[in-house]
């Protein structure tokens, strides 16, 4: 047998970057020869800012009706952000063209045979997709600010805030392009990629709306947490992008056609197999499906597989309790506390105890919780797992808020929480964590599939796991609901003596 040859070539990140930049230069030259890209760049960078500023100046009287400083404090700052955001719309076009467009035109394979690592290729293409929108957004913002100053207005925001605006814009571009890379990696046509791009545009438009609200309430500095959140999302997306952008995935993915029969066959196959059998691609000596196997093997394996997601959900719940506690010191809450202080005071009667219960049946609690879990699962599926997580955080956050309020009223929150939450919560909360963690897995399945599964396989596998897990979650919710309706109030009132 012939021995393997070895030879040394330059290496290191500088060399890798120089290789990636060869790809970047070519891609950018190519992009700027495409009138579909150049036209919006010119329009959105130069024409649109000019139109906005002249329109605002021309309608000065109308704008002033919104308030004495509405133009300088609200409209112009938001316009700066908007002018920076508009060119992002074509960042997706470039990104999708750069990744899936090249695959569709069959020009990618020639590049795959070049001596570039997957990471160099990814970096080169990512930079090519991200530099034009960042450059044009920055140029648009600069041009807009220059026009404000040239038309006689003061700078509507301070320089540090302007810097935050720019950083936000850059982060948005980076996130959108990173999202587009992932979308591109999962498709073989620009048409399919454009359809999937709504998963990027929708969350990003939500971010812009949040920014608008922040500007309207005048808390510009609150944009820093958004920027940090965007950077965290960027890191996750980039890690995922680097992982799934590899020759094997790109070449092996041949079509986007929907095979309904194949999907059902796939789901059926995942149901029949234990998670470990699926993950190991085991085809022989499969353990037959039975309720015993489900509880003895499938569910413990799913829980073990979801442990990182469960930790993330647990951590998020702690954060939501902390945020709830922190919100109790918020002025509007303080006002409510002050107005109700005489009703909830140390030694006062607890209405739950005087009424003899919560006033709801266990069936009502049970169906409400099951519905919440199903809605959480569906929300997770559509929002990379974030929707379900937020839903749970919103449900748990009030516990922190109540704790904070009680603490401010010099009441002992510990006894109340132990008495009125722990009896059923000890079952209900783990059930919720199991379910929402499985939802998180469903959402993340397309972003980070297990090594031996395709994206589609990973998606189906996570859905099947979510469904199988309900065999544990639903009975837990049932028991918790019965306890909550019948035992919890009695235990709580007994522990607290029916008083606060």
């Amino acid at each position: 047998m012939q021995a393997t040859r070895t030879i040394s070539h330059p290496s290191g990140w500088r060399y890798s970057l120089s290789r990636a930049l060869i790809v970047t230069r070519r891609e950018m030259r190519d992009s700027f020869r495409d009138w579909r890209i150049v036209t919006p760049i010119v329009t959105l960078t130069i024409v649109l800012p000019a139109v906005i500023i002249f329109a605002l100046r021309a309608s000065k009287d109308l704008v002033e009706r919104l308030g004495p400083d509405a133009l300088n404090n609200k409209i112009l700052p938001f316009s700066i952000l908007s002018v920076g955001f508009f060119p992002m719309s074509f960042s997706l076009v470039i990104a999708l063209e750069t990744f899936v467009g090249e695959k569709e035109r069959n020009s990618l394979e020639a590049l795959l045979t070049a001596p570039l690592t997957d990471r160099e290729l990814f970096t080169g293409k990512y930079l090519a997709a991200v530099i034009p929108p960042i450059a044009t957004s920055s140029l648009g913002m600069f041009f807009f600010v220059a026009l404000i100053l040239l038309t006689g207005g003061p700078l509507p925001v301070s320089l540090p805030v302007l810097a935050i605006f720019w950083l936000l814009t850059v982060a948005q571009a980076l996130v959108m392009v990173a999202g587009a890379v992932i979308v591109s990696s999962h498709t073989t046509s620009t048409r399919a990629a454009n359809l999937l791009a709504s998963f990027i545009i929708l969350p990003m438009s939500l971010v812009v709306q949040v920014e608008a609200i922040i500007l309207l309430v005048g808390q510009k500095i609150a944009m820093i947490p958004i920027w940090i959140a965007l950077l965290i999302v960027l890191v996750i997306l980039l890690r995922t992008g680097v992982r799934i952008f590899n020759r094997e995935e790109i070449v092996a993915r041949e079509g986007d056609s929907l095979n309904v029969k194949g999907i059902f066959r796939g789901i059926g196959g995942y149901f029949k197999r234990m998670p470990s059998e699926t993950l190991n691609r085991q085809t022989e000596n499969l353990r037959k499906f039975s309720p015993w196997r489900l509880y003895r093997y499938d569910i413990p394996q799913i829980l073990a597989y979801n442990k990182n997601s469960m930790l993330a959900v647990g951590f998020s719940l702690l954060v939501s309790v902390g945020v709830g506690w922190w919100l109790s010191s918020w002025q509007p809450v303080q006002d409510i506390i002050n107005s109700r202080a005489n009703q909830i005071s140390l030694g006062g009667q607890n209405p739950i105890c005087t009424a003899g219960g919560l006033g709801v049946t266990w069936q009502g609690i049970f169906f409400n919780n099951v519905r919440a879990i199903l809605i959480g699962g569906a929300a997770s599926l559509l929002t990379l797992g974030i929707g379900g997580l937020l839903l749970l955080m919103v449900s748990i956050g009030p516990i922190g808020l109540l704790g904070g309020v009680f603490s401010q009223l010099n009441l002992n929150p510990i006894l109340l929480l132990i008495g009125f939450l722990v009896p059923h919560g000890i079952i209900e909360l783990p059930a919720a964590i199991f379910a929402i963690a499985a939802g998180l897995q469903m959402g993340m399945s397309v972003v980070a599939p297990p090594k031996k599964l395709t994206i589609g396989g990973s998606f189906m596998f996570s859905i099947v796991n979510f469904i199988k897990l309900q065999a544990l979650v639903i009975p837990m919710l049932l028991i918790a609901a019965i306890i909550e309706a019948n035992l919890t109030p009695a235990i709580g009132c007994w522990l607290t003596g029916g008083r606060y």
Binding site: Q2, T4, N106, S107, P115, L116, R247
Partner: protein
């Protein structure tokens, strides 16, 4: 130079390549024949370090395709199935990009680009965008791209498809020159003439397996039997006795004698002598042309869903032999033992033994 052992590639439950072994030494061309979906492209992708084999291994120029993919990609030039060019670029810019990716020094790549563009008649089109090129011009551009770094190993997928006859000959000549320059080449093609003319060896791949491999003549001999010869005679001739002891007579009538011979150098003069002695007037003696197409169709031309594998190739070849014997017996009335001198090839052993 190219060595692959037991390559297997599966995508989910589908096996695209199933145990392909290849060996192409320096200065040799191996033509890989097979219908669409037979596994040619997946095999070359594994050899080009684009796909990792599920089982087996491959070495290109001594580099392992899994552990040293960058070295492999520096060693190879790959003309892909579709040219896949950048339509908004001009050819010089395009080739320069790939030359730079292959770390060819600027001066050398510019000289090389110009020389190859002249060689393939593309210099005059240098001001056009690639999008304006004809299919043949695009194919030639892609070929130059594969050659820009003067690779030691070449994978050429349909190098002359969509080309006019003149361009196709130009490319074939270039491939011949590359072979002379000791390059190892795998040629995936549907053009059987091209395979026959250029390749030292031909491998036919079907359902991800190489079902037969050898030189064009070996394949013809294996699948179609020993070469056939035709003697054209003046009308009224009769078959002289004892001719069947010299060669296998396949067909006889007053004007034609067709016989099969393993050793034409020995048998043909004897046959001519016998015919002349018997008073037959010989007009011509020529070998009956047998195309590679017949061989290819025999194997690859089976319906796509049939399980035509190595075993069936063997059976098919045995049937060919038996058919020849029966035909000869029918014509001459002599027993099969009379053909001992033709020493039929032990096809099973040859196939199982693999390449020589």
């Amino acid at each position: 130079m190219i060595e692959a052992v037991g390559l297997v590639k599966t995508f989910g439950d589908f096996t695209a390549v199933n145990g392909v072994s290849l060996h192409v030494p320096q200065g040799q061309i191996l033509a890989l024949l097979g219908h669409n979906g037979a596994g040619k492209t997946t095999t070359t992708r594994m050899l080009a370090a684009i796909l990792a084999p599920t089982k087996g291994y491959a070495r290109i120029g001594g580099y392992d395709t899994v552990r040293q993919p960058l070295e492999v990609r520096r060693t190879i030039g790959h003309l892909t199935e579709t040219p896949g060019l950048y339509n908004r670029m001009r050819i010089v810019e395009y080739l320069d990009f790939f030359g730079e990716l292959q770390s060819v020094p600027k001066k050398i790549r510019h000289e090389r680009i110009e020389a190859m563009m002249h060689r393939f008649d593309l210099w005059d089109t240098r001001r056009l965008r690639i999008g304006e090129y004809s299919k043949g011009m695009r194919q030639k551009t892609a070929l130059i791209r594969a050659l820009i770094h003067d690779p030691q190993v070449l994978f050429l997928d349909e190098p002359t498809s969509a080309m006019d006859p003149h361009s196709a000959k130009m490319v074939r000549d270039a491939i011949g020159e590359l072979k002379e320059a000791h390059r190892s080449i795998i040629l995936c093609t549907h053009n059987l003439f091209e395979a026959e003319v250029l390749a030292d060896k031909i491998a036919i791949i079907r359902k991800g397996q190489i079902v037969i491999e050898g030189t064009a003549n070996e394949l013809k001999r294996k699948l179609l039997g020993a070469p056939l010869f035709q003697v054209e005679l003046r009308p009224g001739s009769s078959l002289p006795p004892g001719l069947e002891n010299i060669a296998e007579v396949v067909e006889w009538n007053e004007q034609n004698l067709i016989f099969r011979s393993e050793e034409p150098e020995r048998t043909n003069p004897l046959i001519l002598k016998k015919l002349v002695e018997a008073g037959c007037e010989v007009v011509t003696l020529s070998e009956v042309p047998r195309s590679l197409e017949s061989v290819y169709l025999k194997i690859a031309g089976q319906p796509a869903d049939s399980n035509f594998n190595r075993d069936e190739v063997e059976q098919s070849m045995q049937k060919t032999e038996q058919k020849s014997e029966v035909k000869a017996r029918e014509l001459t009335g002599v027993s099969a033992d009379a053909f001992d001198s033709s020493e039929p090839i032990n096809l099973t052993d040859e196939l199982k033994g693999g390449r020589k």
